[in-house]
Symmetry: C2
Subunit: 275 residues, 2 copies
């Protein structure tokens, strides 16, 4: 027997959970350019084996997004853009699953003009998907912290994305963030390892945690000098959300991605998983 309503929605969001500890849902209401009021709702699951590279119509994170907006099949290209900037920029462990799926269902019941090219709809859907992406990262298996990586000043968008994935997939960076250890050398290792173009002399690195934003490197050189300033970085890192901000100084492209820390619990969950 099928139900509808809030309780049924919540039941579905709960039913798809596996090692998830947070129910992932998000809904917005947005007024489109032509005055139509539109709803967008989303549920999602995913905690381990998370490094999706979903292509539209081809895609273990599961997410289901519903809206009453009036959109056409031509919205696919924009849906791909939104996926590429949200769930496809999440990596819990770099291990891409074989069956990541994200489904956008639109029934057009809100009426109004076709919303394919309406920036209000795009921004609202992008807001929902970014929220869902952050929640998936923060609920990565064993995670105690959400890591956000913001790269700017990249020569190409590909460079920015490559660097973000190298940083959020580095077990050394992830462990350092778990331990609130201001080991910026590991972030610089990831820069060099990523293969993206930059001159060390142009690199700026900032770590943000809670309300504290602490400059680490300027023009490629360490800003902090003594043990006391190391303590400040440590305090910034001792937050549920740690943001690594890199300006490569090599161009005008930027991107954002999300991951989580590597903890004892990640090892426990995945070493003791009953096959």
């Amino acid at each position: 027997e099928l139900f509808d309503g809030r309780q049924a929605d919540a039941n579905l969001a709960e039913a798809i959970m596996t090692t998830d500890t947070i129910k992932k849902e998000c809904a917005v209401r947005v007024r489109l350019s032509d005055g139509t009021l539109v709803y967008i709702g989303a549920i999602c699951k995913g905690s381990g084996m998370i490094a999706p590279h979903m292509k539209v119509l081809h895609g273990t994170t599961l997410s289901l997004i519903t809206t009453d907006a009036n959109i056409s099949p031509a919205f696919r290209a924009k849906w791909q853009q939104i996926l590429d900037g949200s769930l496809n920029m999440v990596s819990v462990d770099g291990d891409q699953s074989t069956n990541d799926t994200s489904i956008l269902l639109a029934n057009g019941m809100a009426g109004g003009k076709c919303a394919d090219d309406d920036p209000e709809f795009y921004n609202a859907l992008n807001f929902v998907m970014t929220k869902i992406a952050r929640t998936v990262a923060s609920d990565g298996e064993g995670a105690t912290k959400l890591i956000e990586v913001r790269v700017s000043g990249a020569e190409t968008k590909e460079d920015a994305n490559k660097l973000i994935k190298t940083i959020i997939n580095s077990p050394l960076v992830k462990s350092a963030i778990f331990g609130s250890d201001p080991n910026y050398g590991r972030i610089m290792m990831a820069l060099g390892n990523s293969g993206c173009k930059f001159n060390l002399e142009d690199v700026r690195l900032t770590i943000k945690g809670g309300d504290m934003e602490v400059p680490i490197l300027d023009s490629g050189a360490p800003v902090f000098q003594d043990e006391r300033s190391v303590e400040v970085v440590r305090m910034a890192m001792d937050n549920k959300e740690v943001c690594i901000i890199v300006d490569l100084g090599a161009g005008n492209e930027s991107s954002v991605g999300w991951g989580c820390d590597l903890t004892y619990d990640y090892v426990r969950i995945n070493a003791e998983y009953a096959t």
Copy 2:
């Protein structure tokens, strides 16, 4: 003051250790094709941030190999081949360091003909470097097990190497091996994730631990059927050395690489490392 002799050699091998728990050294004596007796000795350090891609004359694993063989600068190409099949096929955490270095010193004091093209010398040096590579992998930070991955039947050598790196860098595969969990789905995930060419119907997967060699997949389908055979795989995995053997059935190329399990101690070492 500088010394020579066994004690001085052992001191040097110990002096370069950081988070290493095993002193990495190896020496062989080999009779070359022209009858010359040659010695090759090697020391090495490296435990975390280990995923070297060393190029000759450009290369945090440090290794120093000495020999009295008579070789010329032209041996470089072969030295690169040996590095590519030994240390460059090791990955503890996928995090490539900024300063991996391997130095081969030859003083020619053994005399004899130039040994550049002597297969006896090549094989002896390759033996030493493979031994060193395996020791580095088995002493990865926090490691309790050495993982050897053997891929055969690949279309290209690049495919074989790409698959090996994807398997040994997968946190899910590494955690499963730590927990002796016969979760072959994670190995198959890595196959799909690697981007290498294969048909699932042609894939054979075997897990070897100690003297037990257990077929897991044949023609892409699971060989074992019941809980008892799962226990056999678990017993094979409960060994200091676990070997994952994949035949892709897609070609004639093969390769071998080494990694280690992902353990609580890896997280502890890298979360508590004092910057």
